[in-house]
Symmetry: C3
């Protein structure tokens, strides 16, 4: 079994969770915050069989969208351009996904 | 060392955490939400020695209870029966437990 | 790649996240609660290259401070002393850090 830990934007969270549930996946969601933009986002936890990982990644790809955020000058702008008004444009990904190995799974 | 990630029902969270603490385990709790029922639940994180895992699982077994939830028709009902009034009955487990391997542990 | 899961005190969370971001790390933060003191704290998630782990641990060491908390008699006091007024003194660490192995990383 694998544990998927996926950080998605709040705007995509509801439709993404619905699509995962409809697809038969089991999902737990946690409210989280991005370190750079300090904006709310959503962290999803999904325990699933190894063979289900690719399918879950496809759902994330389909329902999570990259967006450009305009943000008043955060700490560092290494990965973004500057504009005239002291705002910087930051591209925020659809989903950031970590796949971990589960040594043991149990429902008590 | 292992990291236990356990999703428990809110009604069991306080007594379960107290029992874990009394048993000498160290626990961090996070508010979470179930993807299917969209109800609040609790995610526990416990870093512990390999030899402590079975004891922790026993505490979860003892203090987390399976319950039947009546819920207005959610997305899909594959794992549950239907009743006359458009509600479905869903069985929610005591605790859903993932055991992960910790490569390195440190308290700074 | 590795996933760092670090539990830090709320008082250190902002400066620690800022220092991690300035150092080029990517961080997601989650509100959490300590099982023993039942006080709010912060859980940080950081996916990073193996070679970045030591640098991130140094940031945590520098910005997270051990403190003594006075707390009305919690459940058990095994790791702390007692004082006259029914309060116990508990030493709370700077950061509790778990390093996990990431099998697969993807940004969709
Ligand atoms: N230290 C830094 N210096 C310069 N630019 C930086 C930066 N940290 C983040 N960014 C940029 O800002 C966007 C938003 O980051 P934030 O930390 O608010 O929100 C992040 C964070 O909550 C999470 N995330 C991404 N990578 C992560 C990782 N390796 N570990 C933990 N969380 C991560 O996913 C959200 C979206 O990330 P995404 O990469 O799509 O988009 C990031 C990235 O383009
Ligand atoms: N896609 C789906 N199709 C049909 N029925 C579904 C379903 N997803 C969940 N269910 C059913 O609904 C109950 C509540 O799920 P919920 O997602 O709200 O709340 C879940 C979820 O937050 C968490 N959970 C369970 N398995 C998980 C997994 N593999 N990965 C992540 N979280 C999980 O534990 C809570 C209780 O789960 P439990 O299995 O005892 O009970 C589940 C299960 O009986
Ligand atoms: N069962 C127990 N019996 C006696 N004393 C106990 C105890 N559990 C905790 N303590 C003491 O109380 C302090 C606060 O614990 P708390 O659970 O509120 O807050 C904890 C918890 O949220 C987290 N944490 C520490 N170790 C952990 C672990 N192995 N697994 C998960 N979370 C952990 O980090 C916070 C600070 O921990 P730290 O070790 O620095 O400091 C701990 C420790 O000195």
């Amino acid at each position: 079994m694998k544990l998927i830990v996926a950080v998605v934007q709040n705007r995509d969270a509801d439709t993404t969770v619905d699509a995962l549930i409809t697809g038969g996946y089991h999902v737990t969601r946690l409210a989280s915050t991005g370190g750079f933009l300090r904006e709310g986002n959503t962290t999803l936890l999904m325990g699933l069989e190894d063979a289900q990982v690719d399918g879950a990644l496809q759902v994330l790809q389909r329902y999570c969208h990259r967006r450009r955020h305009y943000t008043p000058m955060p700490l560092v702008g290494a990965e973004s351009g500057f504009d005239l008004h002291g705002h910087i444009e930051v591209e925020v990904g659809g989903a950031t996904v970590f796949v971990l190995h589960i040594e043991h799974f149990e429902q008590v």
